[in-house]
């Protein structure tokens, strides 16, 4: 079976500094993969490369066989990759509902002309979008605040909204960038359940970047460790867990386990 995502020899340089070097990864459908490593290791850069924010200096990224390098971000998202961000990037002044509705842009069935005059497929499409958006919000328990501005949501709910918004694009692959940042252990447990549930319910493949080892060890099936842009190891969590010395060497002495 063809892997969902195939990254080969991915390399990216910023004016002489090599942020990512020879990154390789093959992701099968419905896998849950974690990327870990110290700050500045290039993890978010990999996400940025996959989603087209940066154009890779070298290498190839293929989604179901189609080359992504060189495509615009919105084309990549429409092909089926969605993401969340390290620092939440919601549309703060827009309502919760609008945040989710915007993610439907790639699936809109009406043309600008129909939008300008509110004719044709416009009404039915808009109804469909609203219904789907509210359904999604309900499932994430955000429907009660559908009309509030995103900026007034508490932090945890904002993170949830970001994930909901990403899922609204109907992705095959979901990239989560430090979803547990700023959460207490209780919330992290809930997040672990949420991520597993999302994978099961939405049939998505998930790659996540995290520093919280408990989360990573418990839900990831495979781990990739980056440091200074280079892949240090690709291991099953169980292997890393057995050998704490290996872990220490990769991540330094202070590791939140």
């Amino acid at each position: 079976m063809m892997p969902l995502l195939e990254i080969s020899r991915l390399t990216h340089r910023f004016a002489g500094l090599c942020a990512v070097s020879d990154f390789n990864l093959a992701v099968e459908p419905q896998e849950l993969i974690g990327i870990i490593g110290p700050n500045g290791a290039g993890k978010t850069t990999v996400f940025n490369l996959i989603t087209g924010v940066y154009r890779a200096s070298e290498g190839s990224i293929k989604l179901e066989g189609e080359e992504l390098v060189g495509k615009t971000s919105h084309a990549i998202t429409t092909s089926g990759i969605a993401r969340t961000f390290q620092n939440i990037r919601l549309f703060k002044e827009l309502s919760v509902l609008d945040n989710v509705r915007i993610a439907h842009y790639g699936q809109i069935a009406y043309s600008p002309a129909e939008a300008l005059l509110h004719i044709g497929r416009f009404r039915t499409e808009e109804k469909r979008i609203v219904t789907q958006a509210l359904d999604l919000l309900a499932v994430f328990k955000l429907d009660q605040s559908a009309h509030e501005k995103a900026k007034i949501l508490p932090y945890g709910l904002q993170r949830r909204l970001e994930i909901a918004r990403a899922l609204a694009t109907n992705p095959k692959l979901l990239l989560l960038d430090e979803p547990a940042a700023g959460m207490n252990p209780n919330e992290i447990t809930k997040l672990m359940d949420l991520i597993r549930w999302i994978r099961k319910t939405f049939f998505v493949t998930i790659i996540l970047i995290e520093h919280q080892m408990r989360l990573v060890m418990n839900i990831c099936e495979r781990l990739v460790v980056l440091d200074f842009g280079m892949t240090i190891a690709k291991r099953m969590p169980s292997e890393i867990q057995i050998n704490p010395k290996v872990l220490e060497a990769y991540l330094g002495e202070e590791v939140a386990l």
């Binding site: 978010t44 940025n48 924010v53 961000f85 620092n87």
Partner: protein, 291 residues
């Protein structure tokens, strides 16, 4: 050949004036990320101060220059305190609209007080030196030399004094700098004062070189100087100087070889092309976005 050289001199003259005004824009932008659209009108006020001082108080060249620079500098500080300071936390566009409003106020206030264009008497004897078929006027040389001196002084202040260092620091990070003990408000006022003063000097020089002053002269020149600042990379002092000279050269060269009505059109089109090729200006750097 001589014609070319003649035009080059004109270009330098015009370019110096644009550069001086552009410096005012760029300094304020660098420190407050705000486009002071009233700046062109400060230039105009400088010319009018010069007129008032020369005609009614019959002052000499040097005192007129110093006093009008000082006058415009003070006006700049007053405007900053009254109109811009309350808007430092407001959305940027509000500050810009306020600046437009201040500019309109200055233009129309001057128009109301002085409906007819005024003529500035020459304060210095204008010598014309002829070298072959070339004629160089001392006024031109004066404008160019004086502008260069002012720009050098500014460069010195910004690069080598504590105040200049504070200005540069504030342009990098406005929140941290006060924590380092820097009197931010005073530095901001100083920046405005210097920028306005330079604009005022430009106004006076323009008034002496092209002796008619009218209240709307600041509009077109102000916008052109603004474009120069952006072309050079807004926020960048050296960029503003370069941008000013580029625009001056383009304008004069276009006027020299094409019908004069094409001047603005070709100049703006070339600038547009330049911006499309280098979207952040010549010396400007795109703000990298951390995703």
């Amino acid at each position: 050949m001589a014609y070319l050289f003649q035009q080059a001199l004109n270009a330098l003259q015009l370019g110096s004036i644009y550069a001086l005004i552009a410096l005012g824009y760029t300094m304020v932008y660098g420190i407050l990320t705000m486009i002071n659209f009233a700046h062109g009108d400060l230039f105009m006020i400088g010319a009018f101060f010069c007129f008032l001082l020369a005609v009614y108080l019959k002052m000499t060249f040097v005192t007129t220059m110093l006093l009008s620079m000082l006058g415009v500098a003070c006006l700049g500080v007053v405007i900053e305190r009254l109109a811009y300071k309350p808007l430092r936390k407001a959305p940027r566009v509000s500050a810009i609209i306020t600046a437009l409003g201040v500019g309109l106020f200055l233009e129309n206030f001057t128009l109301a007080l002085s409906p007819y264009p005024k003529h500035i008497p020459s304060l210095l004897e204008n010598f014309i030196w002829t070298v072959g078929s070339l004629s160089i006027s001392s006024m031109q040389v004066l404008v160019i030399v004086l502008s260069l001196i002012l720009m050098l002084v500014l460069d010195f202040i910004v690069q080598r004094t504590m105040a200049g260092m504070a200005m540069r620091a504030i342009s990098w990070d406005k929140t941290i700098v006060p924590l380092m003990g820097v009197p931010v408000n005073a530095i901001i006022s100083l920046t405005f004062a210097i920028g306005a003063g330079l604009g005022g000097a430009a106004g006076m020089m323009y008034g002496l070189a092209y002796p008619v002053v009218d209240p709307y002269m600041g509009i077109m020149i102000g916008w052109k100087a603004f474009i120069s600042a952006v072309v050079g990379g807004i926020g960048n002092i050296r960029g503003a100087m370069i941008g000013g000279f580029i625009l001056g050269t383009v304008e004069i060269m276009v006027a020299a070889f094409l019908p004069s009505t094409y001047r603005d059109f070709v100049a703006f089109t070339l600038l547009l092309v330049l911006l499309i090729l280098r979207p952040y200006g010549i010396l400007g750097k795109p703000q990298p976005q951390k995703v």
